[in-house]
Symmetry: C2
Subunit: 409 residues, 2 copies
């Protein structure tokens, strides 16, 4: 009989969001008339903007005519999109990124999930706690997790503490990781690192020869002056960091699927014979295991960078940030201790009365008919915290906040 | 410094199609006015059919309205597409496939490239020779290849001979593989296994506890009665086989990106504690490392199964098969020994005059301005063979064939 990857049996049965969905489904079955408002999964709700719709409609029409039909896209993406990314996200901000350092893909999750395939199994992985659970899960699948211990931590992972008293800023760990995941603005805490905080990590990685995997999926939500939107705003970052970007939250592409990864040519890793380029390895990975992003999708992404597209997507981001502000202020008014929601679409709250994250989940669902995400799902340090997202409809957000304000917990 | 996956250094520098593209580019630079006709890379050229265009246009419009906007798709795919696949590709042919056995994805290459992530590193892999090079490359990346020896073979791979004298039918190997890749209709030879030939493999896998990874990307081109389009037409296949399907060639989706994988619940593998379901493992892989296929793309795929969509896509397949017939007959007339082109869009020819595959490539390009694909790129047994594809424009195909007929090689 075929042997399976033995690491999979180490994974807990349920992926966080599947478990949330299961409990909501079960509540809905028991309470079919309940008016449930979801501030749970980080999925967008606003429609695609006009510029994107027009670009996609035109691209669909092109695919229906022999003269303009397009087959396989280039593995790394079409030049028109790579140029738009390079010009708008980097050059215009004074950041150097070369065209052959940009890899267009079907979203940050696939890229983050597979990037470590090109890295060795014995690298020590450092992961902020709490954070997006895909980093841990994919490394466990690849054999870098060790075993899950009774405190909810994986034995081989270096947990990077991000304590509440320091505003959830990740602190330099005692043990040096070879690979460091940083998500800023952070999912779930909403914390965004400022320039000097991020520079400390770039310098640390340079000093220790570590590689930073920088997840910038929420950069569009940064409002505070001086908070970097790209790690390459930091001097020296080209030597130590890969950057993952996505149109999912920036332009509402969760159902369209487009993102990109930047792998600077300076980045090296070591194999048994010497130093090799990570850019070359990732290119090999993508050309072998990926067949390009749909033409229609790439035209949609390009439209996000048109003058009109920029205005329209900014309005949508503003809409969500008004939600974030409403949730944050409403919860503060109700007496909760609240973080995030300023440079991120996530609001992170301390559960009151010593409730565990899942206890709070169940009570919030049962008593307010509001769905959120238990903080413990983002790592053991998330226990006793809870995440609400700003991606809902404004009226629903207001209704949910009113219910929470009136809640006698 | 971060360690890289040491297996990558074992891979030859150039992926087959990149090398073909490089040589064509270099020829074009030296001969800017040359009228080059490509019968090389297996990419479609006919536009998407009307049913698909209409479905996509409607879906794009839906994404632009708040009431009908869709965010993240379900990891496994929308029910509307899963139902259409199940009904049309399986139930209507008397084959049982359950809804939760179908995983919609962004194309067969991603699924084939990553499926072995859920399998152990020590499985012995059996691969037909010649065949689509992604099977070998992905297994080498995962450490199952061993080393590349001077005969062009990987030391740990079981090569499944498919000799010309047996019509390129894969022959049972001496050593038993744990994982067996079968591509039928085959890329590049065009050979399609009939029911009894495929049954021999299903029985062999059942007897030895092997897992078959069945690549059916070209099933739409099967014309010969009795040639299975799905491995599940064979009794017992649910116990031994995963099937990979794609809309790329069936409906011209190479630039749209949609396919699906069928993982029957009967399929088991062994981990250190016992038997586990491959369906559950693949579900875990996809929910962790993939974020669903675009809504618009899934609506496009659904339209392929509408009565009108079926008619329209069948016409396109007919168009390509007329090309295949033209190439096959033309080359036979010119005195070449030719295979395939009957149940597949690929024509496989023996290079004349003892030319190597790459020598033939260079001469065909230089003397006929026709691009094809060197057979040796599909495995060591492909040396001395050459692949032409039927995906071109009919007039160009005729012109290419005329040039080859007049060619004094």
């Amino acid at each position: 009989m075929v042997q399976v990857n033995d690491n999979y049996r180490k994974l807990p049965q349920n992926y966080l969001f599947s478990e949330v969905a299961r409990r909501v489904r079960s509540y809905r079955e028991a309470n079919p008339d309940a008016d449930i408002i979801s501030l749970g999964i980080g999925d967008v709700t606003r429609p695609l903007c006009n510029s994107v719709i027009e670009a996609m409609s035109a691209a669909v029409a092109e695919m229906g005519r022999a003269e303009t039909f397009r087959g396989y896209a280039p593995d790394r993406g079409y030049d028109f999109l790579i140029d738009a990314i390079r010009t708008n996200d980097y050059l215009s901000r004074g950041i150097r990124v070369d065209s052959d350092e940009i890899f267009v893909n079907d979203g940050a999750k696939s890229a983050l999930g597979h990037f470590c395939d090109i890295l060795g199994g014995n690298n020590k992985v450092g992961i902020c706690d709490p954070v997006y659970p895909v980093y841990i899960d994919t490394n466990v699948m690849d054999g870098r997790g060790g075993v899950l211990t009774s405190d909810g931590k994986w034995s081989d992972i270096v947990y990077i503490d991000s304590p509440a008293e320091n505003g959830f800023i990740p602190q330099i760990p005692l043990q040096v990781p070879d690979i460091i995941y940083i998500c800023s603005p952070n999912n779930p805490t909403g914390t965004a690192l400022n320039g000097s905080q991020l520079k400390a990590w770039v310098d640390y990685a340079a000093e220790h020869g570590s590689l930073i995997l920088f997840d910038a999926a929420y950069e569009a939500f940064v409002r505070t002056p001086g908070v970097p939107r790209s790690i390459y705003e930091i001097e020296g970052a080209r030597n130590v960091a890969v950057e993952f970007r996505s149109f999912s939250k920036t332009a509402g592409f969760t159902g369209v699927r487009c993102g990109y990864t930047v792998v600077p040519k300076e980045l090296k890793g070591r194999d048994s014979e010497g130093e090799v380029s990570l850019n070359a390895l990732w290119n090999r990975h993508q050309s072998t295991k990926f067949n390009g992003t749909a033409y229609i999708v790439q035209r949609a992404a390009e439209a996000v960078y048109s003058p009109q597209g920029k205005k329209e997507t900014a309005l949508t981001v503003d809409y969500y940030m008004r939600n974030a502000d409403t949730i944050r202020k409403g919860l503060e008014f109700a007496g909760f201790t609240v973080y995030g929601g300023v440079d991120a679409p996530y609001i992170w709250l301390k559960t009151p009365c010593g409730l565990s994250s899942w206890e709070f989940f169940d009570r919030l669902l049962d008593e307010c008919r509001v769905v959120g995400t238990p903080g413990v799902g983002f790592g053991p340090s998330g226990e006793g915290y809870f995440r609400l997202t700003a991606f809902g409809d404004y009226d629903n957000v207001c209704r949910a906040v009113e219910r929470i304000k009136e809640w006698k917990i």
